[in-house]
């Protein structure tokens, strides 16, 4: 194992490129949650989240030495890789996701008709409704909401991860939140 419990990401990636297993484990444990959560919120599916997390860290194994700290944090670097894998998965699963979303909507409508509003259920329903609204956003808006609002990444890191300007992140986030509020209003109108 490594002597010091916490190394910088830079050091860890350098050690990983030399085949240091302890460094890989430390790096994985440090970052897997945010990569996994990003993929989960982007796709809405645990299988995709798991697959993307695996692909991201497999990529790290082979290209760790190409990491350049000048170009952004390791978190931004990982999310940049994760984003490409997620978009590829979404592209691959697009027809299936659409069908599933329709089925989910129908099931949710039926539940809303059939059940009284208990507070916990209502809370869960609101979360589910918001989750669907996030998943229904166009990918360019969804990714900024997931990175900044759900994964609590700052604008600069999100910009580095997505390869765009901070201003673009701000404007997309503003627009994405407006879209979410519209969707939530529409959902509330449906359930009333």
């Amino acid at each position: 194992m490594l002597e010091s419990p916490s190394h910088s990401d830079d050091d860890l990636l350098r050690l990983i490129s030399k085949g240091n297993e302890a460094a890989f484990v430390e790096f994985y444990r440090k970052h897997q949650t945010s990569v996994y959560r990003f993929a989960l919120h982007m796709s809405g599916k645990t299988e995709i989240a798991e697959e993307v997390t695996q692909d991201v860290f497999m990529t790290v194994m082979s290209v760790a030495k190409q990491y350049d700290a000048q170009r952004g944090s390791a978190a931004a670097y990982l999310h940049g890789i994760a984003r490409n894998f997620v978009l590829r998965c979404l592209e691959r699963e697009r027809p299936y996701v659409t069908i599933l979303d329709d089925a989910e909507n129908q099931r949710s409508d039926a539940l809303a008709d059939a059940q009284d509003v208990l507070s916990e259920l209502a809370r869960n329903e609101r979360i589910e409704s918001l989750r669907r609204a996030v998943l229904a956003l166009p990918p360019a808006y969804r990714e900024v909401v997931v990175l900044c609002d759900l994964n609590e990444m700052d604008y600069a890191e999100a910009a580095a991860a997505l390869g765009c300007a901070i201003g673009t992140i701000r404007s997309r986030l503003h627009r994405a939140r407006a879209l979410l509020m519209e969707k939530m209003r529409a959902a509330e109108r449906c359930t009333v």
Binding site: G19, E21, F24, V25, Y28, R29, Q32, T33, Y36, R37, L40, H41, T46, A49, E50, T53, Q54, F57, M58, M61, S62, R123, R126, I127, L130, R131, V134, V145, D149, L150, N151, E152, R177, L180, M181, M184
Partner: protein, 153 residues
């Protein structure tokens, strides 16, 4: 921030903390196993390239040392040239060998090479086994430069 925005932000915070927090333990186990395998492969590759480099260097040194004896100029040069031609014919020519002087006296050195290195001279290889070592005979000319290669198996 208006009440609707506040409600949205509260909802997003609730969503952020909802659902599974991390990947499965099995994934970590799989990734560590993969990392070990890749590290082993990397070490093997480095060893093979060092070993084959060392073997070729040793062969050249031997050739330089015994070269005058092997290519004894007094001993029927035409026959030896024929023998050298026949020896060369058994070998798969290396890409740049045509530009080298004809072989007058040859020496064969057995080395271990990574299978991937054979691809560059036109051998079809199984990409899954690219890093596997393979035994080959390397034909060196009187100048110590490699002219061809022959797989042992």
């Amino acid at each position: 921030m208006n009440p609707e925005e506040r409600e949205l932000m509260a909802g997003l915070r609730a969503l952020a903390s909802d659902g599974p927090r991390q990947a499965s333990v099995e994934l970590e186990t799989r990734l560590i196993a993969e990392f070990r395998q890749q590290s082993r492969l990397r070490r093997t590759r480095a060893w093979i390239s060092a070993a084959s480099g060392g073997a070729i260097a040793a062969a050249i040194a031997i050739l330089v040392w015994i070269g005058p004896v092997v290519s004894n100029p007094g001993a029927a040069p035409p026959d030896q040239a024929v023998l050298a031609d026949e020896a060369v014919a058994d070998f798969y020519p290396l890409p740049d060998a045509d530009a080298l002087p004809p072989v007058e006296s040859a020496m064969v050195v057995r080395v271990q090479l990574p299978m991937a290195s054979l691809e560059s001279i036109g051998f079809p290889i199984d990409t899954d086994r690219a890093a596997d070592p393979v035994e080959a005979d390397v034909l060196l000319g009187q100048d110590g430069l490699a002219r061809g290669v022959r797989l042992v198996e």
